[in-house]
Symmetry: D2
Subunit: 345 residues, 4 copies
Amino acid sequence: MKVGIIGANGYGGAELIRLLHQHPNVEIEMLISNSTKGSLLTDQYKHFHYIFEKSLEEWNPDEIQSKVDVLFFATPSGVSKEIIPQLIERDIICIDLSGDFRLKDEYLYEKWYKNKSANIEDLQKSVYGLTEINRNEIKKATLIANPGCYPTATLLGLAPILKANVINMNSIIIDGKSGVSGAGRKPNVGSLFSEVNENVTAYKLGKHQHIPEIEQEIQNICGFPATVTFTTHLIPMTRGIMCTIYANLKKNMSLEEMLELYQETYLEESFIRIRPKDKLPSTKEVYGSNYCDIGLNVDERTGRITIISVIDNLVKGAAGQAIQNLNVIAGWDERTGLNGIPIYP
Amino acid sequence: MKVGIIGANGYGGAELIRLLHQHPNVEIEMLISNSTKGSLLTDQYKHFHYIFEKSLEEWNPDEIQSKVDVLFFATPSGVSKEIIPQLIERDIICIDLSGDFRLKDEYLYEKWYKNKSANIEDLQKSVYGLTEINRNEIKKATLIANPGCYPTATLLGLAPILKANVINMNSIIIDGKSGVSGAGRKPNVGSLFSEVNENVTAYKLGKHQHIPEIEQEIQNICGFPATVTFTTHLIPMTRGIMCTIYANLKKNMSLEEMLELYQETYLEESFIRIRPKDKLPSTKEVYGSNYCDIGLNVDERTGRITIISVIDNLVKGAAGQAIQNLNVIAGWDERTGLNGIPIYP
Amino acid sequence: MKVGIIGANGYGGAELIRLLHQHPNVEIEMLISNSTKGSLLTDQYKHFHYIFEKSLEEWNPDEIQSKVDVLFFATPSGVSKEIIPQLIERDIICIDLSGDFRLKDEYLYEKWYKNKSANIEDLQKSVYGLTEINRNEIKKATLIANPGCYPTATLLGLAPILKANVINMNSIIIDGKSGVSGAGRKPNVGSLFSEVNENVTAYKLGKHQHIPEIEQEIQNICGFPATVTFTTHLIPMTRGIMCTIYANLKKNMSLEEMLELYQETYLEESFIRIRPKDKLPSTKEVYGSNYCDIGLNVDERTGRITIISVIDNLVKGAAGQAIQNLNVIAGWDERTGLNGIPIYP
Amino acid sequence: MKVGIIGANGYGGAELIRLLHQHPNVEIEMLISNSTKGSLLTDQYKHFHYIFEKSLEEWNPDEIQSKVDVLFFATPSGVSKEIIPQLIERDIICIDLSGDFRLKDEYLYEKWYKNKSANIEDLQKSVYGLTEINRNEIKKATLIANPGCYPTATLLGLAPILKANVINMNSIIIDGKSGVSGAGRKPNVGSLFSEVNENVTAYKLGKHQHIPEIEQEIQNICGFPATVTFTTHLIPMTRGIMCTIYANLKKNMSLEEMLELYQETYLEESFIRIRPKDKLPSTKEVYGSNYCDIGLNVDERTGRITIISVIDNLVKGAAGQAIQNLNVIAGWDERTGLNGIPIYP
C-alpha cells in the first residue's frame, strides 16, 4: 500500500515515518510539508541518514492522488479540515492525527478550538479512531479522526467501568501528566529545556480542547453523559503520558473484582496490558511502543477507584494508533509494524 | 543560638546546613550521623569545601546537652521517637523533620507506619509545625513535629476553603507530584537516574503515611473530619512538589471571589504567594526558596475547585519550614535566614 | 539457534532480551541470574509483561549445555573468567560483554582491573569482537570478548586515520561523555537521580580500565603503539556515549579529503554512518539502535582533527554488537534483528 | 549605588536581578528591554512575584543618566557596541556581559563574530573583567568587558600553569560541556527540551567566538601566544559549565606539586576552590553560586595535565562575575551579595 504523510517535519510526522518505514506492507511515497518543502528529511531529522532519505514536497492534491492510497495528517489543528474534502473526492483514505474531525458537534469545536469547524457532512463521514472501542466502524472508514493523546489514555482507562456502569458519572476527575513532545517541534519559550527541566507546570485548567472529546466519547461508550474535570501537567520528559483517573464507585467492588473486569474487557486486545495488583505501570515501560498499560487501585476508605493509564504519546497517542487503524482498514493483523518492544531503561 | 543536626548526611540534613550556615543568629555546633561518624561533611557533600568543614559525630546526649540549645532531626522515621525523650529531659528544643511525632493517635501511627508509636505523653508535648496555621502553639513549643512535604503543600492549599467551609468534606482528592530528593540519599533501584529519567511512576496508592497526617490536620484546621484520596507520583526532577487538589464546592463561587478569599487568608504571610488569575505556579518558581505558591481554578461546568500548590520539598517541605519554626520559637523575624530568591531557570 | 543470557537482571541483560526476542533466528531458552534466581523477569522489568515472561534460573553448566548453543555474558567483571572455561569444554559459544577476556596481556588486566586475570590459554582463544575491524576472526570464534562501550566508539572513530597512518600516534586524546546506564542497575549514591541530574562529573581520570583496551586495539589496527589520554564524564542522560577524539595530523589534509577517507573505509558497513560536513552526530540520533555515527572537523589553525563518534552504549556499545557478532558467527546477514530505527525525539 | 539592567528579560538579566536584589549596597532602579517594554518583570519571570515587581522600560539614555550610576548589559552581541559610547559620555559605568568589547583586535571580532567591531577608542577603554586576573585594572575601569562563560572556566583553570610556564603552549585542548541556559531564552529548535534531553551535541567546532577571546587572554596572562583547540558540547542540563583542559607538560611535575602550585596561585581568592586529590569537582557543586572549582590530574604515562574547571555559567560565567567586578570598582568586599552557598542536590 502506498502512503503519504503531510506535516512530515513535526514530531508526529517523524514518528509516522519511523514506524511506517518498518511496516512490511507499506511504502512511503510522499512526504509533504509546506513550511519546509524542498528540504531533505535528513535536514530536519538527522537520525534518518542512510535509512530514509527523501525530499519534503509541497501540497498538491493531484499529485497525491497519483501517488498514494492513504494520507496521514500530522498537521496542526485547522489544516486538515480545509483540505481533506478534496482528498475524499479523490478516494484517498485520510487518517487525521489532528483534532479537526473528532468533535461531531460543530458548536463544541468552535467553542473549544476557537476556530470554525469542518463541515457537518465531512464530520459525519469521519470515524473516531480509538481502535479497541470502534474497531467495527473503523474497518469501513475512509476518514479516521485519530484520537488525541490524553483521550486515548483516559478512555481506554475508563471504558471497562463505563460499560459495566459501576461509577457515578459526574465524579470523574482526570489528572494528566505529559512529556513535552506533545507540544510539537515549534519553538516556543514554554518548551525550552531551561524552562521545563526541574519543573512541573499545570496548564489550560478547564480549557483544554480534549475535554469535549473525552466527554463525547464517554457518552458513545456507555450511553450516559458525563461532565469531567480534566487537568493537564507538563513534566520534564520527552515522551509519555500518564492519566491518573479518579471516580466514585456506585457499589462496593474489591480490587480483585475490578482487575477481573478489566482483564475480561481487554482479553483479546494485543496492545492493552492490565497490570497485576501492586505492579502499577510507569510511562517508561511503554516507551517507543504502542502499548497502553493500565493499573488499578480501589480505596475502600473513600469508595473511589484510581486508574493509572500510560501510553507513549507519540505512538499509541498518535502515530502508532494511526497505523493500527490503517491495519484494521486494510484487513491486516493489527500488530503489523507495531511489535517493537518498549525501550527500557 | 547554638544548634545541632542529627542525620546530617542526608539531603534534609544538607539543606539544614546550607540554610543554617547562612542564618545570622545561629551557630551550627554539631553534626551528628551514626552511619558516617568520623568522616568530614565535605566527604559527603563536596559543595561545602572551604565553606563549612566539620566532622560528623556520633550520637551522645550529654555532649549534645553541653553544646547545643536546639537539635534538628533529619533522621529516617523510627529514630527520633527513641531518643527525643532523653533530650526533652535535658531541656533541648527538638525540631523533628521525621514523621514520628506528627500523628497524635498512636493507633494511626502503628497502622500507617507499621511500627510502634512514640509514647503518648511525648506525643502530647509535640506541636505540629505548619507555621502559618499553628504559629501560636509553635511559639511555646519545645518539641516540633515538622510537617511532611506533601501535607505542607496540601494543607496550605486547602486551609482557606476549609476555614470558609465552602467545600464538600469528602470530595477532596489530592494528586501529588514529587521530585526524587524526597526519597533521600539512600541508594535504591527506584531512585536511580536510569529508572527515573523519562519516566513518571505512581506509588503507594492509598497507602501513603501522609494520608492520616493530612486528615488529622484538616480536622484541626476546620473542625470537621474528612476522608481524602491522596495519590503520589514520582517525576523526573530532583526538587519540588506540586499538589493538584480537587474539591466539590458546596455553593457557587467565582474564581475572583475565591482568589479574594485566599488573598485575605494569607495577607500577612511572607512565604505564601497567591497567584493572580492565569498565572498558575510551577515548581521551579520556588526552587531553593521557602515559598509556597498557590494558584486556583474554579470550573463552573463541574462545580469543582482545582488548587495548584507548589513548594521546594527540601525547603518549605523540610529544612526551611523547620528554621521558620525556630524563628518563631526564638521570637525572631520569621524570614530570618530564609530570604533567598528562587533560582530560575 | 538457542541462546541463554547470564546476568539477565542488569541493563545489558535486559537489552539483550529486548533485541534477541525480536531476532527471527533465535530462541531465548534460559535467563540466568544467581542474585535474583527464582524471580520472574517481569518482577525485575515490568515492560516485558505479556511479551516475554520467563523465570530467572541459577547457574548450572550441565543444564546450560542441554539447552543452549550460545551463552551471552552480561555479568560484572570477574565472573566470566571463572566460568567460561567450563562452557568452552562443553562446546558452547560464549559471547562475553564483560571485560574479562579483552586484554591479551595478563599483567595489564591485573594492573588496571586490580584482579587476577583469566588464564592465558583461554585469553588466546578469545577474539575481540569489534565487528567492523575483526570480522574475519569473529567468523571462526567460539569465545568473543565483546568490546567496551567507550572503546567501541573510540576505535571506530580512529580506525580510518590509524590505517592511513596520518596522525601522530602519541597525540591522541579521547574525551568521553556517557549516560548513566553504563554504570548498571546496582544501586549506588553516584547513580541516583538527585546526584546526576543537572550535573556533569569527570571520573577515573587516568585510571579507567578502557585505557589499555583502547591502546591494545590501536596497535592491532595499525601496527603502531600509542599512549592515549582518556577521560570519562558522566552526564545526565540514561543512554548514549559520545567520544570526542583529538589527534595531531602528520600532514595537511582538508576536511573533504578526510571525509572521503572515512567514507571509503566504511563503505560496506551497515552500522557506521559518516556524517556530511556540518552535520555532526548527537547521541539521540542513534538512540535504541546499533548505529555508530561519526562526524569530523579538521582545524587548519592547529593542525588537529576532531572526531565525534556516538553510539547507544547499551546497543552498539554492548548488546547490539554482541548480536552483530552472533550474526557473523552464524553466517546470517549482519543486520538480522538489529534494524530498529533510532527513536527520536 | 543605583544600577540598571538592559536586556532584563533574558536569563542573564534575570540572574542579575536575583543577585543584585539581594546585594546590600545596591538599588535596582531601571529594567530595560526594548523587546518587552511596558510589560511587568513578573509577566516574564513569575518567580519574582511579591519579591521584585517592576516594569520593563524602553532604552532612553537621558533617563538612564538621571537614574543610575551603573548599567549592566545582558544584551545579545551587537547591541552594546552601538549604545555604550553614549553612556560613557554620560559618565555611566558600563558592565557589558556580551562579547562586544572583549576582543581588542577589531579584525578578530569581525572574523569570528561576522559583524562590525566596536570603535577602537572604545575598545581601548574597556577592561577584560576576569576579576582574579585583572583586579588592578578593574578597580579603575569605567567599561568592563565581562568574560564569556567558557573563557572564565578555561582561563581560571589555565592561569597557574601559564604563569609558571610549565606547558607546551600549542598543546592546549579545551573540551567544554555546557548547560542549555547559555543559549538564552530565545526560542529555537535546538534548545527545545525534546531535542536536548537524553542527548549530547557538539557544536561550532573550530568556529566558536570564544576561541580568540581565550587566545588573547592566554597571551595577556603569560606573555606567550597560543593556538588552542576548543570544542563545545551541549548537555542536558540548564546551568553549569565544565571545561576539561588538556596540555602537555614541558617538565616532570607530580600531582602534588601541581596542586601546590594551584593552591598558592589562588591562596587569596574567595571564589576559587582548588580541590584536593581525588575530589574532582562537578558542576552541581557550584550550582547557583559564584565559585569556580578546579580539580587536577597529572598523567605520567602521557606527560599531560588534565584540568577540570567548573562554574555556574549564569553566575561566575555571567551575572555573578559582573557583580564581583562592580564590588571591585566600588571598593567593597568582593564577596558582597555573592555569598550564596551552592544548592545541592
